[in-house]
């Protein structure tokens, strides 16, 4: 196994809430609260959780699209959070992002050619005479062709647009990609096409990827390891097979049991959680999941559970886990 490419330590991102006469900061949304994990070179790591769990904010903070409140993000040994402007610009080409909504993430006035050549110019990659060839090659990599260079985004279907978004991310030959719900806006029959494409690219280009998604079936299919988040906290990390076969944290168990099975009449014993995810402005004391946890005890309100080892490279944040 190769060493970690990315090490996230005690990452926090709080969004301030302003109020009162002087618009002082009166409170904050604890979107990401003390999150730590590693991603090894060549690994695809899934980041799952429900809306409001902070998974997208983690992705954006790693890429410095959001400024971290505290903590470190070491990429290839360098702390991304403290890089200066020019260093950061150099660094950006090593990490790229694929966005969820292929309709919102492409400039409607830019032809595909401009979409793909723009990052090359910005990062001064290759000679301008090669741009055209590079753009064509990129399109072929993602299953489109050079005849698409002169088209505008509105001339493409959702699946094709997502392919263009992927080509744009690959233009600067990054080592690391954050894919934020890359298939959830796509129709069922198109999802599989894009998942297969991502798998091929990962193999052929030796990419390392953080794959953010709420669809647990997709995550199991594509990821080597999975991180489960709930209300700004990591609750469990394990290899994919381990997590799906042998979930430890009560939240992970409930989440997996809530996924509809594709076999009529074969409904497993479902753990139905009570209530909704609490507000990240005032998260519960102690364990953030305790208000919905089927096995919570009074101590859960007092102790903030740490991630502890429950198996081979398998950690879980529950004081009751063994």
């Amino acid at each position: 196994m190769r060493g970690p490419l990315l090490q996230v330590n005690n990452l926090r991102k709080f969004f301030p809430i302003h109020g009162g006469l002087l618009q002082r900061e009166v409170n904050n949304v604890k979107a990401v609260n003390d999150v730590s994990f590693n991603i090894n070179s060549g690994e695809v790591v899934g980041l799952v959780g429900e809306s409001g769990s902070g998974k997208t904010t983690v992705g954006r903070t790693i890429l410095r699209l959001e400024k971290a409140t505290s903590g470190t993000v070491q990429f290839d040994g360098k702390n991304v959070i403290t890089l200066g402007t020019s260093e950061m610009r150099n660094h950006r080409k090593r990490m790229q992002m694929i966005f969820q909504d292929p309709y919102a993430s492409l400039n409607p006035r830019e032809k595909v050619r401009a979409v793909l050549i723009h990052p090359l110019k910005l990062h001064k990659i290759g000679d301008p005479s090669e741009y055209e060839d590079r753009a064509s090659t990129l399109l072929e990599k993602v299953g489109l062709s050079s005849e698409h260079l002169d088209r505008f985004p509105h001339e493409f279907s959702g699946g094709q647009r997502q392919r263009i978004g992927i080509a744009r991310a690959l233009a600067v030959e990054p080592e690391f990609i954050v894919a934020d719900e890359p298939v959830s806006a796509l129709d069922v029959s198109i999802q599989a096409q894009v998942i297969n494409l991502l798998e091929d690219l990962k193999e052929n280009l030796d990419l390392t990827m953080l794959f953010i998604a709420h669809d647990l079936g997709v995550v199991e299919h594509i990821c080597d390891r999975v991180i489960v988040m709930y209300l700004g906290k990591v609750v469990e990390i394990a290899s994919t097979a381990d997590l799906y076969e042998n979930a430890n944290h009560p939240y992970t168990k409930a989440l997996l049991s809530a996924v509809p099975v594709h076999t009529p009449g074969k409904r497993q014993n479902r753990i139905i959680l009570k209530g909704d995810i609490p507000s990240p402005i005032n998260p519960p004391s102690g364990c953030v999941f305790r208000t919905r946890c089927p096995i919570a005890i009074s101590e859960c309100a007092n102790v903030v559970p740490e991630l502890k080892s429950v198996g081979n490279r398998h950690t879980s944040a529950c004081i009751l886990s063994t």
Binding site: A192, E220, H221, V259, P260
Partner: protein
Amino acid sequence: MLLEKTAPPILEVRDLQTTFSLTKSLSVRAVDGVSFDVNKGETLAIVGESGSGKSVTSLSIMGLLPKDTGRVSGGSIKLNGREITTLDDRAMRDIRGKQIGMIFQEPMTSLNPVHTVGQQISEMVVRHENLTKAKARIRAIEMLHMVGIPEPKIGVDNYPHQLSGGMRQRAMIAMALACEPSILIADEPTTALDVTVQAQILELMHNLQDKLGMAIIFITHDLGVVAEVADRVVVMYASQVVETARVNDIFEQPRMPYTAGLINSIPRLGSSVNKKRLEAIPGNVPSLTNLPGGCRFHPRCGFSKDICRSSVPTLQAAGANHMIRCTRWSDLNLNGGLNS
């Protein structure tokens, strides 16, 4: 299920055509010859991708097509034996909410933000059942209790923005069922919800159906949800029904290549044990203004032959309660469903 044979269906849709005019000269058929029955107490799932016509089918049944552009241009819809496509607005208003309940995908946009949940439920009951306001309020509280809203006596005076997504969808269900309709049309009711909340809502709908005995039309694109809730399934593609069967047959023996393709293209739980490549359906859903000739699925179908390009398939019987729209179905061996 013996009841199915004797009792007349609650809803009979026959050869439904719904047309939208895009410009003065251009119109498209968003629903093209759709037929199905819904029986008492059963759940019929309508599955399809975006643009397949599943939502327009439900809007046509409810008489909620946009007045200036859309209209039912042919076929019939019978509710408890009575033709409803020819009814005027006033008569349809008596049916909606009373005989047909409705819930939609996004409960925030389908509830009125300036009225309390209780006012919105009471309004329905006063309109349809001539109850006094005081009695209607009591009914509203009962309904909110039934759908699991905590402290319904307080919840009845909440505005929609004070509720979470899951609670709003519960309030929508309370409103839809307040007049005990014989059929509930649910259009992607859990699509906007998180998976743990989706599980709560599906269980609630299941329990309410047991208790109240209404039929449900469940419109969704999620085959996992279909497997869980449906008794029978209608699969739609490019404005047409392409397959209809009992839920077990759809998943175990899909006969239409499109249905089998959909089932095989979805990553399901358990794939990390037995990892293999997804079988994607190539190409895109065709545009309604530019439909392929012959079978509408043939450009994307792995089994298509010349005959699929030249002849238009009709919906035909392929077994007990199993209809499909494929010319070549009897020659095909689709390894879909559970065996794959």
